[in-house]
């Protein structure tokens, strides 16, 4: 395949599907050859998926997970965007907060689980809090670096046209930083989806994370475990695809490779 040539339409679907099919085949035959009694084959996972789909609880779990992501991610965006913009805009503020941020940022949200349970007990709140933590730092960092990376030429043009500082922030710096802010939000959404599953395994008794751990604990239903994992993967992909539509808006498209 010539990498410069545009792939034909059939190729766009053929190669990914072939890869997936090969992977399924390897999985299928590995299960047969190793004669494992524990790990499920693709076929039993498929049956598991059907079984889950018929259970009312699956939809409730999906909705619970999505709700926690929406709340935690939403809060992280509402608080993190203005905070990050302020850090990028006022270097003095950044100097004050940066060391604390740099220490808190590498701590996995999973490590916060015990603390979250002390703060909020068991239930929706600790899980949402973990999602918030996971999403907050990437959003803050993206906004701060987005603002400080705005070429000085834009700010100078803004000043030249007689704009006040708040006007420059709103009409020049924010739109100039927006593509980078959106990239940060997208990364944060991906992390939020990773974290909610982990959080639900411990801090709460509903959601897709709980479904995974519960399927294992109540009768070692590994077919359901893997089925739930696949559902998590597909929903994560869907969230990313939906979010990427934002990048197609005309006033931010300049910031993304075409």
């Amino acid at each position: 395949m010539n990498s410069l040539a545009k792939p034909a339409t059939w190729e766009k679907f053929f190669w990914p599907l072939l890869t997936a099919a090969l992977l399924l085949a390897v999985w299928h035959y590995s299960v047969i050859w190793t004669a494992t009694k524990v790990f499920p084959s693709p076929l039993s996972v498929e049956k598991g998926l059907v079984e889950l789909a018929h259970k009312h609880v699956l939809w409730a779990d999906i909705i619970d997970s999505l709700r926690r992501v929406a709340t935690g991610f939403g809060l992280a965006a509402i608080i993190g965007i203005p905070f990050g913009l302020a850090l990028g805009w006022y270097p003095a503020l950044n100097q004050i907060f940066n060391p604390v941020l740099q220490i808190l940022r590498p701590i996995s949200p999973i490590a916060w689980i015990p603390v979250a349970i002390i703060f909020f007990g068991i239930g929706d709140k600790p899980a949402t809090f973990l999602v918030f933590l996971g999403a907050f730092f990437p959003i803050v960092v993206a906004c701060a670096s987005g603002v400080s990376n705005v070429p000085s030429i834009y700010r100078r043009a803004g000043r030249n046209f007689g704009l006040s500082s708040p006007q420059i922030l709103a009409r020049v710096v924010f739109p100039a930083a927006l593509p980078q802010i959106l990239i940060g939000l997208r990364i944060a959404l991906g992390i939020a989806w990773l974290v909610v599953v982990a959080g639900e395994m411990i801090a709460v008794d509903s959601g897709l994370g709980y479904l995974v751990i519960d399927s294992r604990n109540s009768g070692k239903r590994y077919d359901l475990v893997v089925a739930a994992m696949l559902i998590i993967g597909v929903i994560g992909l869907a969230l990313d695809v939906i979010f990427r539509q934002v990048e197609k808006i005309r006033s931010v498209r300049w910031g993304f490779r075409s």
Binding site: I153, A157, N160, F161, G162, P175, S251, W254
Partner: protein, 244 residues
């Protein structure tokens, strides 16, 4: 705008970039600043625009000392000056938020026409060529009705053909709008073709080495003996001997 006087010395890490520069510019005049690269042409422009303050001396326009950037004098950058998140209309209208909607629309339409970007009103800069982007930047600058336009090597990033066309366009715009233009370039032809007076700066620290008056009517014949003579003179002043 009658008297612009600048006497300053600027210390960046106590490197003197501009030394004792004094110049009067008449209203409506087209001045080209030429000099070796890195001599401080852009610094001088930034001081005149109010983006940098002089270490000593001052810049005055119509008797009023320049204190900071002001929409009455707009700086046009070499490239990346237009806002990529705004359409052509949005860019031209950027400095016009104080006008009423009708007035703003009319002003935008006028300048779209002037820089010949009709049909591209709703295009984004990423869809425009380099020359179109620079025309857009000039239109955005002119739309706020400035007294002076500072152009910092505005065609420096363009190919030579586009550059040639852009000079003609700029002259046409200057002749219709009659603003004072101060134009930084290191291109001798550009200076002789455009300017009323060419100010030759020395290498750093920049001093005014010479001021050459180009006494040819527009449109200039680029192969007339007088043109070639002035071009040679300018080349010699910059330190390049063409007719050796």
């Amino acid at each position: 705008m009658d008297h612009v006087r600048k006497i300053f010395e600027r210390d960046g890490n106590s490197i003197s970039v501009l030394e004792d520069i004094s110049l009067d510019v008449r209203n409506g005049e087209f001045i080209c600043l030429v000099g070796p690269s890195g001599c401080g042409k852009s610094t001088l422009l930034n001081v005149m625009g109010g983006f940098l303050s002089p270490t000593s001396g001052s810049v005055a326009i119509d008797g009023e000392t320049v204190q900071g950037p002001d929409p009455r004098r707009i700086l046009v950058f070499q490239e990346r000056g237009v806002f990529p998140w705004l359409t052509v209309e949005g860019n031209i209208g950027f400095g016009l938020s104080k006008l009423s909607d009708a007035e703003r629309k009319q002003r935008i339409a006028h300048y779209v026409q002037l820089v010949r970007l009709q049909g591209f009103e709703h295009s984004y800069p990423s869809d425009l060529s380099g020359g179109m982007k620079q025309r857009l930047q000039v239109a955005r600058a002119l739309a706020v009705n400035p007294d002076i336009l500072y152009l910092d090597e505005p065609f420096g990033a363009l190919d030579s053909v586009t550059r040639f066309i852009m000079r003609g366009e700029l002259l046409r715009i200057w002749q219709t709008e009659r603003r004072t233009i101060i134009f930084v370039t290191h291109d001798i032809d550009e200076a002789v073709q455009l300017a009323d007076r060419v100010v030759v700066l020395s290498s750093r620290p920049a001093k005014i080495q010479d001021v050459l008056t180009i006494d040819i009517e527009h449109p200039r014949n680029l192969s007339s003996p007088r043109y070639l003579e002035l071009r040679d003179q300018l080349a010699q002043k910059i330190g390049l001997a063409f007719s050796a």
